[in-house]
């Protein structure tokens, strides 16, 4: 951070905060070393429950992958390793970092981590389910939109559940029902591409959900600021 004379822009503050979160995560390894293996176990367990029928698994594999990304991704956004204590929050307030910037920083870090989660779980799903990957380039924008939307939703839920004993159980309940447009969009993009239908409407749905979530977060951030 710089001095008041050259006060950093909110964007710079946001990037710095995201960097701080990512450095803390790199030390703790909570998201990538704990949650990702847990998600991989989830991908491994489902075929044991629904039957190890290869054509069936090939059909349902992409959908299961996105369900696992959604449910386990919420846990990543609510990770305890980067929870700011009261003293850290006070310091950020004294430094002039606004609540909106803090929320955006958290959302940015979440997005980067969720892209990592998707990248690590993707090969696991491909190996276990052998899905039809025709139209795979469409996955790149879909992955980005899922990570962005879930990152913002997770940051918002984290702010709502901040300091609560049951934040890691309450957070998923708040996020999961609101993340349905992302799940629908992500699963239908690949299906549309596979059957030579246009995938743009599904990307547009996800983008709209992302923008609405970001708008809600921007409007709510100031109201979530709590005096102690």
């Amino acid at each position: 951070m710089t001095t008041l004379a050259g006060a950093p822009t909110p964007l710079r503050q946001c990037v710095e905060l995201a960097g701080k979160d990512l450095r803390a995560e790199a030390r703790a390894g909570e998201a990538l070393l704990v949650t990702v293996p847990f998600g991989a176990i989830g991908l491994l367990l489902v075929p044991l429950a629904v039957g190890t029928d290869t054509p069936l698994l090939r059909e349902i594999g992409p959908g299961l992958y996105w369900v696992v990304v959604l449910l386990f991704g919420v846990l990543v956004t609510l990770r305890a390793s980067t929870v700011d204590g009261p003293a850290q929050l006070d310091l950020l307030r004294l430094c002039g970092v606004g609540p909106g910037t803090r929320l955006a920083g958290r959302a940015l870090a979440n997005t980067v981590l969720l892209l990592g989660v998707q990248a690590l779980l993707g090969p696991v799903a491909v190996v276990l389910y052998d899905p039809d990957l025709s139209g795979w380039p469409w996955l790149a924008p879909a992955a980005l939109l899922v990570a962005g939307g879930l990152g913002v939703l997770g940051a918002l839920a984290d702010a709502l559940a901040q300091g609560l004993a049951g934040r890691t159980t309450l957070g998923p309940l708040l996020v999961a029902p609101l993340a349905v447009p992302l799940l629908l969009g992500a699963t239908q993009v690949l299906t549309a591409a596979r059957y030579d239908r246009t995938a743009w409407p599904w990307l547009a749905l996800m983008l709209t959900a992302d923008l609405l979530t970001a708008l809600a977060a921007a409007l709510c951030a100031a109201h979530l600021e709590e005096a102690r």
Partner: protein, 241 residues
């Protein structure tokens, strides 16, 4: 209870009796027969659920603007009732769906979005229960109460936006309602009756919440030290006890 307090429950009771009588005397449907009578409770339950969440939205916005504890109580009470009436609408719809569609549940956009709305507001209630501090609880729940309302128009418009088994809007639509007028009259009486029942329940729940808050404040005050407690009365020589 004052006489004016008793008027609303009496009015609601009369309206419920009138509504049920109207539902029984309304003509059966040409296709669905007697099953259509479920409409007279299913549709009002869904309407009251929408109304509850709209009141939660308004009260949440009011809290963020004016910070009055009354607004928080109204928002909470209305959300509780909204969850109850959403559950009732889903259950009644499911009972109606079994003989009509052949299944208790189908992956229809109206059903799925309604179930999601139910879970979103269950999350709202869970958030309320998780926060002990009343101001923090009111603030965070007001924010969530405003954001959660986005789900309500999605539920209502779902039958127009997607292909669906559920019938499109018959009353809340531009132009003449696409329903027999005798049925419409019975439905409207039940809508009024359910709204009055909701008003009775909302008022009772808000009063109960206010009483709980007052009790909590009194309990807090009892255990608190008063200024001057630590100072003892001066003892004068020769007057000791």
């Amino acid at each position: 209870m004052t006489p004016s307090d008793a008027r609303l429950p009496i009015l609601a009771g009369v309206a419920v009796i009138a509504g049920q009588a109207a539902a029984l005397f309304a003509p059966p449907d040409q296709v669905q027969g007697e099953l259509v009578r479920l409409m007279y409770v299913h549709v009002p339950a869904a309407w009251v659920a929408y109304l509850s969440f709209a009141i939660t939205l308004g009260a949440s916005g009011s809290w963020l603007w004016r910070r009055g504890p009354g607004a928080d109580r109204v928002a909470a009470a209305s959300a509780e009732l909204g969850v109850f009436f959403t559950g009732l609408a889903i259950t009644l719809g499911s009972i109606w769906g079994k003989p009509t569609w052949g299944v208790w549940w189908t992956w229809d956009p109206r059903l799925v979005t309604t179930a999601l709305m139910f879970f979103v507001y269950l999350g709202y209630l869970a958030l309320r229960r998780a926060i002990v501090d009343p101001v923090a609880r009111a603030r965070r729940c007001a924010v969530f109460g405003v954001a959660a309302f986005a789900q309500v128009p999605v539920v209502h418009m779902s039958v127009l936006w997607w292909r669906t088994l559920h019938q499109p809007p018959t009353i809340l639509r531009p132009g003449d309602p696409t329903i027999d007028h005798a049925m419409l009259a019975a439905l409207l009486i039940n809508l009024v009756a359910f709204t009055l029942v909701f008003a009775v329940l909302l008022r009772a729940r808000v009063r109960l919440a206010a009483a709980e808050d007052a009790l909590e404040a009194a309990a807090d005050a009892r255990g608190r030290e008063l200024a001057g407690d630590a100072v003892s009365a001066p003892k004068l020589a020769g007057f000791g006890v």
